[in-house]
């Protein structure tokens, strides 16, 4: 019996987390929770990217004693998505930090983190 591959599992999980994160951003009222939801969303994208690069029955793209330079192309998974994920993680951290800075300043300003309290601009 063939189990679905790990890449499908991770992809499926990624999509579920993506939707969960999006739901959280839309639904949560507390700004910190919204930021956490964003982190979930961000992580889900990393999962999706990694699963995209995965190839069945291959190993990590590290050239060492186990994988020689000449065989690398046929033995390792696609390294590029992993590199992208690294970059995306860095960017995600930057954005999360900025969000938290904003959250701090918003709290200092109004003493609350309810997103509904920050509707002074409209129309």
């Amino acid at each position: 019996m063939n189990l679905p591959g790990i890449e499908y599992l991770s992809l499926g999980l990624g999509i579920v987390l993506f939707l969960a994160g999006l739901w959280g951003i839309i639904h949560q009222k507390n700004i910190i929770k919204i930021i956490i939801s964003f982190s979930v969303l961000d992580t889900s994208i990393h999962l999706i990217l990694v699963s995209i690069g995965y190839m069945r029955n291959r190993t990590a793209p590290i050239i060492d004693s186990a994988v020689s330079k000449t065989d690398a192309a046929s033995q390792v998974v696609d390294p590029l998505p992993q590199a992208l994920v690294l970059t995306a993680i860095v960017i995600g951290v930057g954005i999360t930090a900025l969000m938290l800075t904003y959250a701090l300043k918003l709290f200092n300003e109004k003493g609350t983190l309810e997103i509904d309290k920050f509707k002074s601009l409209k129309w």
């Binding site: 590029l80 969000m99 904003y102 129309w123």
Partner: protein
């Protein structure tokens, strides 16, 4: 050429190095930052100059020592060079604008600023899609950091909403990029476009995610609430960067990535762009906050640019030129407007009147506004023209309609705003911030806008170049605006004379054009003459007066449709500023502008449907339009907005009556003829014969008759002398329309005679009444009376004027009447003719009221010491009277060559008017202006002599030496029956002048404002609703596409 990679090196390096300056001092850091920003400007401008005029290959930077897809590459081609040059220009001047702010903000703000511009440069240059994502994020983070410059809860919460929205959008982008890589195996944009098609289902979804994210980054309507909040609350210097800088980079991203989606996505972009353009501008009309309004406008303009990119296939080789025109206008104007907003320091658009304290700022503001809407000579005018022409060539009529509709909405709020700045009452305690660091960027962008205008004209395709000579003179007048009035006025008069002398040889054989050129130029000189009586320097008057006249004469001169429309818009712009100068003209000038703008857009539409993409745009194209029915109807209605036909007339009375004393004759006697000339051009192209029975002409004939009746009837019930004359103009233009729509030889002679007459007597009357009003300081006729003794010269002028107007022999009004009856009988339009005849008799009523209430009757106490009108008013009046006399006695001087032209050129050869010396013959009879003049002159002399003889022994009575109804009156008011003089007629006919048109347009106005008011409630201010909008937008677009 400097390797463009150094742009990144320098900005990033400077960013890191500035970190070291944290301690040593902000002053040095600011200078270093400015220098760092000057470098990319130097590099990209260098590349831009390199690419101009030659087809050099784009320069490509390969990183990591290898070629794509194994590395990231940057490209510097002509497009990239131009856009980075624009962005770096913004970076440089934007930095100067924030120079003082940086001092209080510290070094980290400068670092963020440099990082933002590094990001924007890379976004434009990179050819790698993931790299693109990274730098989009970097730019966003830097930007949102910069939003924090403004303290306070508004900027904070707006920045947070922006951050969340941008994060969600870029998450979607990233997922899309991941799947694109999965399906195509490359991240290189060029590699993808070369090797992949969208046949694979999964790939098309990936492309969908990427492109929809880019579109959302561009603030697609209505999922753009997050952006509006930031526009409103951020420091104006930062909002300028978003509106001009970020948007520029994102637009180019769309341009780069749109080929992913193939033809389908071009259409999607076109639809999304136009929906945004129309939607955002429509919601903008209810907005009163300046920065938020600019936000709505930015979103709309960018939508239009998105649509232009979407039209790539239709526009072909014109794409770049159109994009340049629309883009550069938006880019320079919007950045400039945000900067001005910071200088005005006012949130309410009605308080922008503060700009008046610095006329230079007001001038720049006006430039930016006109350039946003697409007036000449600004680049957007060229862009919009070509866009509309090319779309119509491809049969995209609906798109044109949407573009024009969006432009109209934009005009509604931008002209309201401009009007407030020019005219709204000003708070004396406030003044705009004119620190050098703020003046420099705004001024520089205004100059760049002028430069871009020149470039647009110089590089506009085909033989459509317009002579900039009048524009240079107008510019010169702006520069010498500080000089005394005498010099400016004399120069203006001389320039009109010179222009006429220069123009004469080219139009001397074309009597039709000669007549209108004469009206515009001679009329212009005469009315300018009155300006000598003004006190002070009259700042800002002459450039715009000359702009109006340049436009008017440009209409006559134009031999192609582009030149004609260019002149038309120039005339509109100048006349708007002239009209708004009147004391109470704010709302009237606004009405005038809206009707004019609407009319101009209809004319543009009509021209587009005429030309439909053909290269030939000469005026003769009007004879065979691609879509004759629509083209003719749109053009006719467009011209009728200027002639104020019934239903489109509501702007006229206020605009003409409230204008300054010498402006009223300009706009009433002269400017209205522009519409008449437009109709002449249009009808000539439609031709006589069979085409003369076009149903449109029949309808216009009726409209003319009804306008004559309505205008005259409304004039009768006015108490305001200038309003009376204004309504009389409505009626007279009705006659003219009626006569021209006959499309017969005599009909046209009638129309032209009416046009000349109306110019002569209406200019005369407005000058005379204007002179009176200057002295008595009121427009109300019932307050005047008995002024004949104080102002005998004005009295004579008005007397001659109303005799001409009423068509009483021997003056030329009678010539018009005689021709008119001939024409009506020959044509057989008896019912309409009867209406016009009835209107003519009504004219007697208001003519009588005018002369009786003002000059006859009882002299009022407060006016016993008023002087005659200024001599500078009297002189042109008597020149006009001489003109009337000549035209009355020898009408054949003008009418004979016109008749010959109408016959020769085979316009209307049949049933011509025959001349035998001074006598005109038709099938129905004959008439001699000269003989009538002699007879009536002799009668006049005899009667006058007899009267003088008889009244030798008459006893002179004092004013109150009378008994009236058994009482001896002791105030003049009790015996001067003037107020509500025609009350009985009002009772009988008043229902005819029920303000239906005013109510209709008011209803239109209210409907749209109510719609905008309720629709913009979707921007609830709740950050989460904005995310829902984004998600919903994606879902809806996906559903529509699949």
């Amino acid at each position: 050429m400097v390797n463009p990679v150094f742009i990144i090196v320098v900005l990033l390096g400077a960013g890191f190095l500035l970190g070291l300056f944290r301690k040593t001092g902000i002053s040095l850091a600011r200078v270093a930052g400015l220098l760092a920003l000057a470098f990319p400007l130097y590099v990209s401008v260098g590349w831009m100059l390199h690419f101009i005029g030659q087809t050099a290959q784009p320069y490509v930077v390969y990183t990591a020592g290898t070629v794509p897809p194994f590395s990231i590459n940057l490209r510097m081609g002509p497009d990239e060079a131009f856009l980075t040059a624009a962005i770096n220009m913004l970076g440089f001047f934007g930095f100067i604008y924030l120079f003082r702010l940086f001092k209080s903000q510290g070094v980290s703000t400068i670092i963020l600023y440099l990082v933002l511009f590094m990001g924007l440069n890379v976004i434009v240059m990179t050819r790698d899609i993931f790299n693109l994502f990274v730098f989009l994020e970097i730019a966003s983070i830097a930007l949102i950091g910069l939003v924090l410059v403004n303290k306070g809860i508004d900027a904070l919460s707006a920045g947070f909403k922006y951050l969340i929205a941008v994060s969600v959008i870029s998450s979607i982008l990233l997922v899309g990029i991941g799947f694109i890589y999965y399906y195509s195996g490359t991240l290189n944009i060029d590699g993808f476009i070369e090797n992949n098609s969208l046949v694979m289902k999964g790939l098309s979804t990936a492309v969908f995610l990427v492109l929809v994210a880019v579109v959302l980054e561009l603030k697609a309507f209505p999922a753009n609430g997050w952006a509006l909040d930031v526009y409103q609350s951020a420091h104006p210097g930062i909002s300028a960067l978003i509106s001009a800088g970020t948007a520029t980079a994102s637009l180019f991203v769309l341009y780069k990535l749109l080929p992913f989606g193939g033809h389908l996505w071009l259409q999607v972009a076109a639809v999304i762009g136009l929906v945004t353009f129309v939607g955002s501008n429509m919601l903008g009309i209810a907005q009163k906050n300046a920065n938020r309004l600019l936000g709505y406008s930015s979103v709309g303009q960018i939508g239009l640019l998105v649509a232009v990119i979407g039209f790539s296939d239709d526009l072909g080789s014109h794409l770049r030129m159109i994009f340049f025109g629309l883009f550069i206008s938006h880019f320079l104007s919007k950045a400039g407007l945000f900067w001005l907003s910071g200088m005005a320091g006012e949130e309410e658009i009605s308080k922008w009147s503060v700009l008046r304290k610095k006329p230079a700022l007001l001038l720049i503001f006006g430039m930016f506004v006109f350039s946003l809407i697409g007036f000449p000579p600004f680049p957007s005018f060229y862009g919009k023209w070509q866009l509309v022409m090319d779309l119509s060539g491809n049969g995209q009529i609906l798109w044109i309609a949407l573009i024009l509709l969006g432009t109209m909405f934009e005009g509604v709020y931008l002209f309201r705003w401009l009007g407030f700045a020019i005219k709204h009452e000003v708070d004396e305690s406030k003044a705009p911030d004119t620190a050098a660091e703020k003046m420099i960027p705004a001024g520089a962008f205004a100059l760049l806008l002028l430069g871009a205008s020149w470039v647009s004209n110089a590089y506009f395709p085909g033989a459509m170049k317009t002579s900039f000579l009048p524009l240079y003179f107008i510019l010169f007048l702006f520069l010498i605006d500080f000089l005394p009035l005498v010099i400016k006025n004399t120069l203006s008069i001389l320039s009109l004379g010179y222009y006429g002398w220069r123009l004469y040889p080219s139009i001397q054989d074309d009597t039709l054009r000669l007549v209108f050129a004469g009206i515009f130029l001679i009329g212009g000189m005469l009315t300018l003459f009155a300006g000598y009586s003004e006190k002070g320097k009259r700042p800002g008057f002459y450039p715009f007066a000359l702009m109006m006249y340049a436009g008017l004469i440009g209409l006559v001169e134009a031999d192609n449709l582009f030149g004609f429309f260019f002149a038309w818009e120039l005339m509109t712009m100048g006349s708007y500023i002239l009209i708004i100068r009147g004391k109470k003209s704010l709302v009237h000038a606004y009405n005038y502008m809206l009707f004019s703008l609407g009319g101009a857009l209809l004319i543009l539409f009509g021209i587009a449907l005429t030309v439909a993409g053909q290269p030939d745009i000469s005026l003769s194209m009007l004879a065979s339009p691609a879509y004759p029915g629509w083209a003719y109807a749109l053009l006719a209605v467009g011209f009728l907005t200027k002639t104020a036909a019934l239903g489109l007339h509501i702007w006229l009375p206020g605009a003409h009556a409230e204008a300054e004393s010498d402006v009223s004759p300009m706009v009433s006697g002269i400017l209205l003829k522009a519409g008449a000339f437009g109709l002449v051009i249009l009808f000539l192209a439609m031709g006589g014969g069979e085409a003369g029975r076009h149903p449109l002409l029949y309808a216009l004939g009726w409209l003319g008759a009804l306008t004559a009746l309505g205008g005259n009837l409304m004039a009768v019930f006015q108490e305001d002398a200038k309003r009376l004359l204004a309504y009389s103009s409505v009626g007279n233009l009705g006659y003219i329309l009626f006569a021209f729509s006959f499309m017969t030889h005599i009909g046209w002679l009638t129309g032209l005679t009416y046009s000349i007459n109306h110019f002569l007597f209406k200019t005369l009357l407005f000058l005379a009444i204007g002179g009176v009003v200057m002295r008595v300081k009121t427009h109300n006729m019932y307050e005047m009376g008995g002024l004949i003794k104080r102002m005998p010269w004005s009295f004579i002028a008005v007397l001659v004027g109303i005799i001409t107007l009423a068509g009483i022999p021997p003056l030329s009004g009678f010539a018009g009447k005689w021709l008119f009856y001939n024409a009506v009988i020959a044509k057989g339009w008896f019912l309409q003719g009867a209406l016009v005849f009835f209107a003519g008799t009504i004219a007697f009523l208001y003519c009588f009221k005018l002369i009786y209430s003002v000059f006859l009757g009882q002299e009022k106490d407060r006016f016993r010491k008023v002087k005659e009108a200024p001599v500078w008013y009297i002189i042109p009046q008597f020149i006009l009277i001489v003109g009337i006399m000549i035209f009355s006695a020898r009408p054949e001087i003008v009418l004979k060559p016109i008749g010959a032209l109408l016959s020769q050129a085979a316009f209307f050869p049949s049933e011509p008017l025959a001349w035998e010396n001074v006598t005109a013959y038709t099938n129905l009879g004959y008439w001699s202006g000269f003989n009538i003049m002699l007879v009536i002159g002799a009668m006049f002399v005899v009667l006058l002599g007899w009267l003088l003889l008889m009244s030798r022994k008459a006893q002179k009575v004092k004013q109150f030496n009378i008994v009236y109804a058994g009482e001896a009156p002791f105030t003049p008011e009790t015996t001067h029956f003037s107020h509500n003089m025609f009350a009985p007629y009002n009772k009988a006919l008043g229902f005819l002048i029920h303000p239906v048109a005013t109510q209709f347009w008011l209803g239109v106005n209210n409907t749209f404002h109510a719609l905008a008011e309720s629709a913009r409630k979707i921007y609830s201010g709740n950050g989460q609703s904005y995310i829902i909008h984004i998600v919903a937008y994606i879902v809806v677009v996906y559903l529509i596409l699949s």
